[in-house]
């Protein structure tokens, strides 16, 4: 007798995508260096969270946008093997292009409908220079784009909060404002751990077309304190 019925068993994939602004302004005041440090620093915690839930297969990748957009880490990489390669900054802010490239990757296929909701983290310090709305529409036209956990981090006062809010698409969730390296590290760690943990074992919930629903509970955002003399961005 066959040991058990059915074909191959598999845990559910959870795609985690960094969408990073690498425009020229990110080179000012050490923003891109802080971002590189924050993401690299969060990897061990991310691995720990992934280890705690063996039924989710956390797969990480990253896309950068400046003049155009390119996959910085193109392969969905198991978090255990994920290594961060430093980003560099120059050019303009073609955020729309990055979102449309992410949208392509959220199509079914290559995604499967049995995946866990993907986590998309958009980090930007400025205003889009291309057709942001088309890129966002392409993303939201995909079922997994709509159901993704969309988090936005604004670096510095010049970031376009309105655009980041549109990306989030939910009035109760606001862009996270990072005005110094310390707060950026906290937010990156939060999204790499608390949000990842929440997304990796989401409970079912009743579909409700009449209101905006966050399909994964978003944990409490870390308090980075009021504006202070430490704010440099």
């Amino acid at each position: 007798m066959k040991k058990r019925p059915g074909g191959e068993l598999a845990t559910r994939p959870l795609h985690f995508i960094w969408i990073a602004d690498c425009s020229g302004s990110m080179a000012v005041d050490g923003k891109v260096q802080s971002l590189n440090y924050a993401i690299r620093n969060a990897i061990p915690d991310m691995r720990k969270v992934a280890d705690e839930n063996p039924n989710a297969e956390v797969l990480v990748r990253a896309i950068r946008f400046s003049s155009g957009a390119q996959w910085h880490i193109s392969q969905p990489t198991p978090v255990a093997d994920f290594e961060w390669t430093d980003l560099t900054a120059d050019g303009v802010t073609d955020m729309g292009k990055a979102l449309s490239m992410v949208a392509d990757q959220l199509k079914i296929p290559p995604m499967t409908d049995r995946a866990l909701p993907p986590v998309l983290v958009l980090i930007s310090d400025g205003q889009p220079t291309d057709d942001f709305k088309s890129g966002l529409k392409a993303l939201m036209d995909q079922p997994w784009g709509k159901k993704a956990v969309r988090i936005a981090i604004a670096i510095g006062e010049d970031a376009d909060d309105e655009v980041l809010q549109e990306f989030i698409g939910h009035p109760e969730l606001k862009p996270l404002q990072a005005n110094n390296s310390e707060s950026l590290v906290k937010y990156i760690k939060w999204v790499s751990t608390a949000v990842l943990k929440s997304a990796s074992s989401p409970a079912s919930q009743a579909a409700d077309s009449s209101s905006l629903v966050v399909n994964v509970p978003i944990p409490a955002v870390p308090d980075t304190g009021p504006s202070s003399a430490n704010d440099v961005w």
């Binding site: 074909g7 845990t11 039924n55 866990l116 079912s204 009743a206």
Partner: protein, 340 residues
Amino acid sequence: MMDDGHEPEWRIIGKSVQGASHVRTGLPNQDAICWLPESGTGLPLVLAVSDGHGSAKCFRSDVGARLAVETTTKVIQEFLESLPEPPNLSTIKRWAEENLRREIVRRWRDAVADDLSAKPFTSAELEQADAKVGGSKRRQVVPDPILAYGATLLTVVVAEPFILYLQLGDGDILTISEMGEVGRPPLPADERLFANETTSLCSRDAWRDFRSHFQVLSGPPPALILVSTDGYANSFRNEADFLIVGADILEMIRSDGLDAVDERLQTWLTEASQEGSGDDITLGILCRVDALKIPAGRVPAEQLPCMEEAAAGESENPTKPLSERRAEKPQDAASEEETV
């Protein structure tokens, strides 16, 4: 009607297991399964499976799921027992399409109200919900406490002249022919069943979200009907790997018997959850006993080599997708079917 005139023997077996991720977090099994008659033999048979949502605001969904399967099987059994002999299929079909859904939702909501009245929400329950998702969710639950009990529902009724498939929310119903061909009843697609969202008994006007298929039998019924919560299909690499379950279980029942399979269900489902989705898994199996023997004369002689080939193919290549074979050979072509 069966073409040989005798009433076929059917049996039900089934199990529900706590998901691996719920074992880790201490959340009780949110699924439930129930069938009538309790002996699980004879006709008509009613099987119901439910998946409580388990989200922070659905903190009583294990109770909601249990109430769903208990009330649904009872509502259906009461109706079937009230029918005159011989039953009028048009009456049954009309009832299935119009009144049954409303009655299930009404009785489920009444059962929830009774439970809530007997056991009002405790501050510990509400505080735990708050801690998990923040105050806004608590505000949603308190004005409409029924949300706390949210659950899906999958039901199959097998009677001598018909089969009724009824589904609200996610989960899977598979039919397996005597030849081992795996299919699904033709329920209408529902795009809302995506990601971790599902239609639910706790939604407003939930009866409108039911999908059903009423099949009047004029040819051989399926050999097996499998009813499972979404944690089972989500534990396989893809749809093809999940569909193999159907033919495999038929083959296992034929070679080792229904009781042996019943004994192993707990282990199989637990393993699937551990190595797959981590979710609670419930599987109910309706089995037409006379289909297990493949009686001589039932299958035309020229088809026998195909059947042997299919069985051999299963054991040699257990991950071979069955969808290709299914596409070549439609199932239950002789039956009159209507989907709502």
